[in-house]
């Protein structure tokens, strides 16, 4: 049964299985385990990023396409919801229109990008997507009548999902049941389903062909797989999942702007999460997202403690200042490449697979 849900892709390491279970239940019970708005926001962001990163993993880890335009689709999803609810009001219909419209746009764009990827070599493609993503971000801030420009859009959700909706008088297990909680569980359900779907896709015959293409595109073509078709399909699917992640983000934040969903910074975060978690594993997305987002969200708090503790040493204190949190994030980038070349998942699986010396 479990095996079927996971599409036969077992974690392949006991530690990993325990970790995944902990993450799953931690997220499922987050509102009860970790009280407070901040914690809930972090948990929700993890849910969104798990989907986003897993969708990117399909592209990068399984198909071997390096694209910097992934946040473009994420942004399209978020803008889809944002624009639709701004224009049509906070209704379920608007959510549906926004999601479908965004999916359609992503489909077309990813088709174009995917086809282009075959025309130029890999690094060039990566650099082109980088430029395209930057241009798209600028475009989004230029079309301010539509997108709210640099300032972005703030919008409302249908009553059921807005924070002011409180159906019950009493708290449930010490937590107020309100629209925010309902939104959280909507996100949770969506994330679970989407990740399982991705897991299924990468473990299908299709997924195996993608891996073959990653390994040796030329030979994949020679044994009868039309590489164009597979690559394009993979681009499209991953773009669609990213779009859905964008929709999730918008539902949760009730705000969207170019920096929120389109920035290069998010792209780098996604890349880093894939690598920390372990490329080509899907599970890595979950592990990486939790590790990274928790670190990112609480790094400044941690540094504050550190810099207070070292206030006697001005130089160290300056480096540990919470204002310099990015320095430590940068270090995280470097160290993760050093120490997790195959990601957490790869590490754990290798530990398991290594023959006793």
């Amino acid at each position: 049964m479990m095996n079927r849900i996971l599409s036969g892709d077992r974690p392949g390491s006991r530690v990993l299985a325990v970790l995944l279970l902990a993450i799953f239940f931690g997220l499922a019970l987050a509102p009860f385990l970790f009280p407070g708005i901040k914690a809930l926001n972090v948990a929700a962001k993890v849910l969104v990023f798990v989907v986003l990163v897993a969708s990117f993993d399909l592209l990068l880890g399984y198909t071997g396409i390096v694209s910097f335009a992934h946040t473009m689709f994420f942004g399209i999803g978020a803008y889809g919801i944002a624009i639709a609810t701004t224009r049509l009001g906070p209704t379920w219909g608007a959510l549906a229109v926004g999601t479908l419209g965004a999916l359609l746009l992503s489909l077309l764009l990813s088709l174009a990008v995917g086809l282009f990827s075959l025309r130029v070599r890999a690094i060039f493609f990566a650099m082109i997507t980088l430029a395209v993503a930057a241009a798209f971000q600028t475009l989004a801030s230029q079309l301010s009548d539509f997108t709210g420009g640099e300032d972005g859009l703030t919008f409302r959700m249908p009553a059921l999902l807005s924070p002011s909706f409180e159906p019950f008088e009493d708290d449930f297990l010490g937590v107020t049941v309100d629209g925010r909680l309902i939104s959280y569980y909507l996100l949770f359900a969506a994330a679970t389903l989407l990740v399982l779907a991705l897991l299924r896709i990468v473990n299908s015959p299709f997924g195996r062909v993608l891996q073959a293409i990653r390994e040796n595109e030329f030979r994949a073509e020679a044994i009868g797989y039309r590489v164009v078709v597979y690559r394009t399909l993979s681009s499209v699917i991953s773009a669609l999942f990213a779009t859905l992640a964008g929709c999730m983000l918008a539902v949760w934040l009730r705000y969207n702007g170019p920096d929120t969903s389109l920035s290069f910074e998010i792209m780098m975060d996604v890349l880093l999460i894939v690598v920390i978690g372990g490329m080509g594993t899907i599970y890595g997305a979950a592990i990486g997202a939790v590790l990274f987002l928790v670190a990112q969200s609480y790094l400044q708090d941690l540094l504050r403690i550190g810099s207070e503790a070292t206030s006697g040493l001005p130089w160290l204190a300056a480096l540990l200042s919470p204002d310099r949190w990015l320095l430590w994030l940068g270090l995280l980038f470097v160290l993760s490449v050093y120490y997790f070349p195959t990601g957490v998942v790869g590490r754990l699986r290798a530990a398991r697979a290594r023959p006793p010396a």
């Binding site: 901040k38 926001n41 420009g149 300032d151 703030t154 924070p163 702007g257 920096d259 929120t260």
Partner: protein, 371 residues
């Protein structure tokens, strides 16, 4: 409850780090000054919680929510960027707590995105633009504008244009925000201006990367074209040294306002940092003055409705003289300063000398919110 908790959400890091830090400095100095060094109002201690929005709207939004809810902040001050501010406005409404906006400038904060929990001590774009218009608006003057091609630039130019009464505006040039080479834009401006009679001015409103003042290197003088612009932080005014005599209107320069509050702030700042306070320091200071004045008025009561009642129409002293929260949209009405640049080797920047204080009454700042 013996504490009053004030959350200051600002860009402690990120592209606006330098600005945000000035605000924080000003805010703390202001609170100190307003409470006579006690940090107490009506027996309650003022506690400032710093929150770093990193210039990201989504982050600012969740930080504000966390501040109001997890940290039980009574009111909030900030943020640095307009985008963050706009994302934060609904949070104040949701939690029914005051958000005192400083220094984000977008008109829509006190315009169509406004709600009754929003106050602003910072100047808005219209105030900036209109004061500049008032400063250079003379009969016989021909003006062309140079602005960034996005909402901020276009709004600024529009407000500026609407405020012009006498001068003739012949061209609006908008360039991409990331422009580095201004030759093409300058050439277009020159083509439009050079054959005009009388005084010719290019009015620049620009924020961020790129240095539009480079257009002066194309030897605009030979066509008799001048450059005008508003004030800025001190490092940015270094390039003003190239434009002795340049006119414009600014929000604040430490040498301009003559009042006890400003003198106290400048003195305190020199004492602490060996340097004069800057643009945003004054803003933070003003915000602190507004907060303390309001709290004193309510006797330390932090209930939002009480505070709103106290603050609407409230006047308070700031380094820029007296400000008044306009009842309609809670925007602080304040003086602006018409300046002329003088080059003084003692300063690393072009020194703006006061030509004239533009009083709030002289500027018709439109009310843009629907109440």
């Amino acid at each position: 409850q013996s504490e009053i908790r004030i959350a200051h959400v600002y860009s402690k890091t990120g592209p606006l780090e330098a600005y945000g830090k000035q605000t924080q400095t000003g805010l703390m100095m202001g609170l100190n000054y307003a409470t006579g060094g006690t940090m107490m109002v009506n027996g309650k201690k003022l506690v400032v919680l710093e929150k770093d929005d990193q210039g990201k709207p989504d982050l600012g939004k969740s930080l504000l929510a966390a501040a109001y809810s997890d940290d039980k902040a009574d009111l909030a001050v900030g943020p640095t960027s307009s985008g963050v501010a706009l994302a934060m406005l609904p949070v104040a409404e949701e939690y029914k707590k005051i958000l005192l906006v400083e220094p984000a400038v977008a008109d829509s904060i006190t315009g169509d995105k406004w709600n009754k929990y929003i106050f602003r001590t910072g100047r808005n774009s219209s105030q900036d633009a209109i004061s500049n218009a008032v400063a250079i608006d003379k009969p016989g003057v021909t003006i062309a504008t140079l602005a960034q091609d996005y909402a901020f630039g276009r709004d600024g130019v529009k407000a500026f244009k609407d405020a012009l009464k006498n001068a003739k505006l012949v061209h609006e040039e908008y360039l991409p925000t990331n422009t580095t080479d201004f030759t093409a834009g300058a050439q277009r401006l020159v083509d439009k201006l050079k054959d005009q009679p009388g005084r010719k001015i290019i009015w620049i409103v620009w924020a961020g990367a790129g240095n539009p003042f480079k257009i002066a290197d194309m030897d605009l003088k030979r066509y008799g074209i001048e450059i005008a612009t508003g004030g800025n932080i001190l490092p940015a005014m270094a390039s003003y040294k190239n434009f002795p005599g340049m006119e414009g209107a600014t929000y604040y320069y430490f040498g301009i306002p003559k009042n006890p509050v400003n003198e106290a702030m400048v003195a305190a700042h020199y004492r602490e940092f060996k340097s004069p306070p800057d643009f945003f320091t004054a803003g933070g200071f003003s915000a602190a003055m507004a907060v303390v004045t309001a709290l004193k008025k309510t006797g330390g009561d932090t209930k939002a409705n009480t505070l709103i009642k106290a603050m609407e129409g409230m006047s308070f002293e700031t380094p820029k003289g007296t400000m008044t929260f306009r009842k309609e949209d809670h925007q602080a009405m304040q003086s602006m300063y018409h300046f002329k640049i003088k080059v003084d080797p003692a300063f690393a920047w072009g020194v703006p000398e006061l030509v004239r204080e533009i009083k709030p009454e002289e500027m018709q700042i439109p009310i843009r919110n629907q109440r």
